[in-house]
């Protein structure tokens, strides 16, 4: 491990983050609100620290990034970015302690969307913009973005890309990693532009349209309103946001294929079919479940169930209704959705449809070989065989995910948090959803979680966003051995 080299690159990332604060500063200046001074100070601090790290370890630059170092850079980079991104939050008085500001910042970058704010609308516009903007940065990956636009990360980019992009089967769209990263960001930006246009077409002002797009596309879920999307109470906005949440939950290479005119890529891809199919079935089931018991009209039941199911399964976390008042079956389905998550290669979190699909196929294969002990079988996805190595890593991932979920919720409960809230909070943060169940439901917030509990949940969010391995590897003694 070449720590000096790792710190050098992390320095570049911090420097880069400092520059992006400029956008929020501009918004603050435009509205001339109280966020200007905090932004100026944090921007200076961030740029200064980044440059300091970069310059101090400039001599340690290397050509190649090894796999282990790639993981270390990504994990450290995310922690550092969360830390410096918290500075503006800390300097505005709505956030009490530093851990609250850090929680909000990490929740933003990891596109979780869990908030410690009780009164969102009291926060200055500049800071709320930052809160949405960091979700947009975190969605496609701040490191992928730096690979795309900073030329000197090109050579070792693949290791960083692999450690940050949430998919068990990374595919390169172009021969060079830099072009691939650039392409993904272009697609991401293009779809975001479409959403802003459509939201403004429906009458939303530019500021709200931007902020909501910045949190829909990365499946983040921060809103500028106290009551989230329910504030607008418009079927048009609901539909637009549902469509874009679904788009954000689909593998971005498929978007690229669609945009480059290769026809129905969504339908050809088996994971995407599975994802859309399961969303459709769950929306139908929940609609019937809440029809009559909560909503009088079938149209209304369908609208709210569709929004809530899509919001949770894509791990966005917007709310238009308080699902905790829904029947137990609907609540359980939503809890299941938190684990399911969106497609691999999307901006969504959770376990990812691809892994669940492969896990089912694996189970079937096991059963099949009980019936035909001599059968030779091969697990395939989209007609292509999946190697045993990939399969093992997926099963390992699922086991770790469930194990960590159990461990963290017990740990949270031991801090005095109640049963449902513990489960809900951990499921919502490790899956990068946002609102959970119990005292952290869609109309509540995370302000009352004990001090240590917040640190635990911050860790869960990072685990979820970087798909566990990249973060957990730091806790394996073997990693530190020379």
């Amino acid at each position: 491990m070449r720590w000096r080299f790792i710190l050098n690159i992390v320095g570049i990332l911090i420097l880069f983050l400092g520059l992006t604060m400029g956008f929020s500063l501009l918004v603050g200046l435009y509205y001339n609100d109280r966020s200007v001074t905090p932004f100026l100070i944090s921007m200076c601090l961030t740029i200064f620290s980044g440059s300091l790290l970069y310059i101090c370890f400039r001599s340690a630059r290397a050509e190649v990034i090894r796999q282990r170092e790639g993981m270390a850079i990504v994990a450290l980079g995310w922690m550092a970015v969360g830390l410096f991104g918290a500075l503006p939050f800390y300097m505005e008085f709505e956030f009490g302690t530093f851990v609250d500001a850090f929680f909000e910042s990490v929740s933003g970058f990891t596109t979780t969307g869990s908030s410690v704010l009780t009164n969102i609308e009291a926060v200055s516009k500049g800071l709320l913009f930052w809160r949405s903007f960091i979700q947009w940065l975190g969605g496609m990956g701040i490191i992928v973005l730096s690979v795309a636009i900073l030329p000197f990360l090109g050579v070792g980019g693949m290791q960083l890309y692999k450690a940050e992009v949430p998919t068990p089967l990374p595919d390169k769209l172009r021969p060079r990693i830099r072009e691939t990263a650039m392409l993904l960001w272009k697609v991401y930006a293009l779809i975001s532009l479409a959403e802003v246009t459509l939201l403004m077409f429906g009458g939303m002002n530019l500021y709200d349209a931007l902020c909501h797009t910045f949190t829909t596309m990365p499946t983040g879920g921060f809103s500028t309103k106290n009551t989230s999307v329910a504030h607008f109470d418009s079927t048009y906005f609901d539909i637009v946001i549902i469509v874009f949440m679904l788009l954000a939950g689909i593998n971005f290479s498929l978007h690229y294929e669609m945009l480059s005119g290769k026809g129905l890529a969504f339908w050809r891809n088996s994971e995407c079919r599975f994802f859309l199919g399961i969303v459709f079935v769950l929306v139908a089931v929940v609609s019937f479940n809440i029809y009559g018991s909560v909503f009088e009209k079938i149209g209304q039941a369908f609208r709210f169930s569709a929004f809530q199911v899509v919001s949770i399964v894509t791990t966005t976390g917007y709310a238009t209704a308080d699902y905790e008042k829904w029947p137990a079956m609907s609540q359980l389905i939503l809890l299941f959705c938190m684990f399911l998550g969106a497609s691999a290669g999307s901006t969504g979190g959770g376990m990812k449809c691809l892994r669940i699909m492969l896990c089912f196929k694996y189970c079937y294969k096991e059963l099949f070989s009980l019936i035909h002990p001599h059968a030779v079988t091969q697990i395939k996805i989209g007609g292509k065989p999946v190697s045993d190595e990939v399969m093992r890593s997926i099963l390992g991932f699922l086991a770790l995910y469930m194990g960590l979920f159990v461990f963290c919720s017990i740990l949270l409960a031991s801090m005095g948090v109640d049963f449902v809230t513990s489960i809900g909070a951990v499921a919502a943060t490790i899956g990068n959803i946002g609102p959970g169940f119990g005292l952290v439901g869609p109309v509540d917030n995370f302000a009352h979680i004990p001090y240590l509990g917040k640190w635990l949940l911050i860790w869960c969010m990072l685990l979820g966003r970087l798909e566990i391995y990249t973060v957990i590897i730091f806790f394996i003694p073997e990693f530190w051995r020379k």
Partner: protein, 454 residues
């Protein structure tokens, strides 16, 4: 520029690595997952797992938009079929295939001219023999490349501890030697490549690369205290295909040749095929046998067995017993940096030779040939100066050449000019350029036509 490489073996891997450093788009296809993993772990290329002769995969790799297809799998048949299929799907792509089987040897030239779907055939053994031949032609050389049909040589030598020129500034080189000295294009010192300016000094132990006309080569070598030593006798260890071929060549040149082979059946075959050469049956590491054959009197020992560790040991043994020059065949690239440490300088590799030949064909436009030198960090190329390019008709010092590149020679008809800042390149001159890997795309741009006229 897009290149598709079929086969991620040693050659495919290194060519890919090479091209990526030059900012080219590379797609690698290989059947083995392990080979694919090795590629993705260290090079920024796109990879596809599967057979390179499959039209579906070739299409997926984007053969239609590719400039070059390079087929370098272990199997000659796969290479041929991959080229054939590429030709059907995308006739405009340049196809380069490696063919190793000795049965093709006789047809090598025919294939090169007649097979319509392959542009170039690379035979690593033939390339290796050419390399060995070049190395033997220059005394003391570690690396020899030829340009302008052999009229200009690019030579790498190791500066001895007691060399006259040690500690001399390059700008004072001609004062010391009393005439215009050879142009030093590069120095490798402690595994680091230096493109020298006038103020750089020569140090003992340096690997010095210089350009020289063929006729003045002996003179140039004298400057560096390397003296001509005619080669009268050679011992070849390993009577495989390469050994046999070399022995044949030496016979024609009337060099006294001994060839040592372990396998007795192979020995009788060799005895049938060779006329003047002495065929010996025995183990190359057998000290008694080597003594018996007066190894200390042999001018060159060439070790060509299939086992590279044996080759290294025999070369060391021969050096110890007083042989002046050994040439060692090694395939594993990871051994290369170690070789100069243990005193084995002249190393050849069929793969390295193939890579060099392949690169030569990949170069764009009016580049006639190019050679990668030690450790793949830099390249020498020979190109034609086009009338419309940016470099002609002005003094060299006014051309905005990228840092890390150097014009090392200008060839005008029969004349070879060692350039200074005042030299002017005329249209249709051939120029020899030495460049670091990372500036090669820029060089290619400079050499290319300024305005397209059609």
């Amino acid at each position: 520029m897009k290149v598709i490489i079929v086969g991620a073996g040693e050659v495919g891997f290194h060519v890919a690595n090479h091209l990526v450093l030059e900012n080219k788009d590379v797609v690698v296809i290989d059947k083995s997952l392990d080979a694919i993993r090795r590629v993705t772990d260290s090079i920024d290329v796109q990879v596809i797992n599967g057979s390179g002769s499959s039209p579906v995969l070739l299409e997926e790799a984007g053969i239609r938009g590719a400039d070059i297809l390079l087929a370098v799998t272990d199997s000659d048949e796969t290479n041929l079929v991959a080229s054939l299929i590429s030709n059907i799907i995308s006739p405009s792509t340049k196809k380069i295939a490696r063919i190793r089987n000795a049965d093709f040897d006789k047809y090598h030239d025919v294939f090169c001219d007649q097979a319509p779907y392959i542009d170039t055939i690379i035979n690593p053994e033939i390339e290796l023999i050419k390399t060995i031949d070049r190395l033997m032609s220059v005394p003391g050389a570690i690396d020899v490349e030829e340009f302008a049909d052999g009229r200009v040589k690019f030579v790498g030598i190791r500066l001895e501890k007691d060399a006259r020129l040690k500690g001399v500034h390059l700008s004072k080189l001609s004062d010391k030697t009393g005439r215009q000295g050879p142009l030093v294009a590069a120095i490798v010192r402690n595994e680091e490549l230096i493109i020298p300016g006038g103020s750089d000094k020569l140090m003992p132990g340096d690997l010095v690369y210089f350009i020289s006309e063929k006729d003045k080569l002996v003179e140039s070598l004298n400057v560096f205290d390397k003296h001509e030593e005619p080669i009268r006798s050679v011992l070849i260890v390993g009577g495989g295909r390469i050994g046999t071929r070399l022995a044949n060549i030496f016979e024609k040149k009337s060099i006294y040749t001994k060839i040592l082979e372990k396998d007795s059946d192979r020995c009788s075959k060799l005895a049938e095929q060779l006329n003047k050469a002495v065929v010996l049956h025995g183990d190359g590491s057998d000290l008694g046998l080597l003594n018996e054959e007066n190894i200390q009197d042999v001018d060159v020992v060439i070790t060509l067995t299939n086992d590279e560790e044996t080759n290294i040991l025999i070369s060391l043994l021969a050096k110890n017993m007083g042989v002046r020059k050994t040439i060692t065949k090694i395939s594993k690239f990871s051994y290369f940096p170690l070789m100069s440490n243990i005193g084995i300088e002249q190393v050849v590799s069929p793969r390295l030779s193939s890579i060099n030949t392949i690169l030569q064909h990949i170069r764009r436009g009016k580049v006639l040939s190019s050679r990668s030198i030690k450790g793949e960090r830099s390249e020498v190329m020979e190109a034609v100066a086009l009338e419309t390019s940016d470099i002609v008709l002005k003094p060299l010092k006014e051309i905005s050449f990228p840092k890390g590149a150097l014009v090392a020679g200008i060839i005008r008809k029969d004349e070879v000019i060692i350039p200074t800042g005042e030299s002017i390149i005329k249209p249709d001159d051939r120029i020899i350029i030495f460049a670091r890997k990372n500036v090669i795309p820029k060089i290619e741009k400079i050499l290319a036509v300024k305005l397209e006229y059609w």
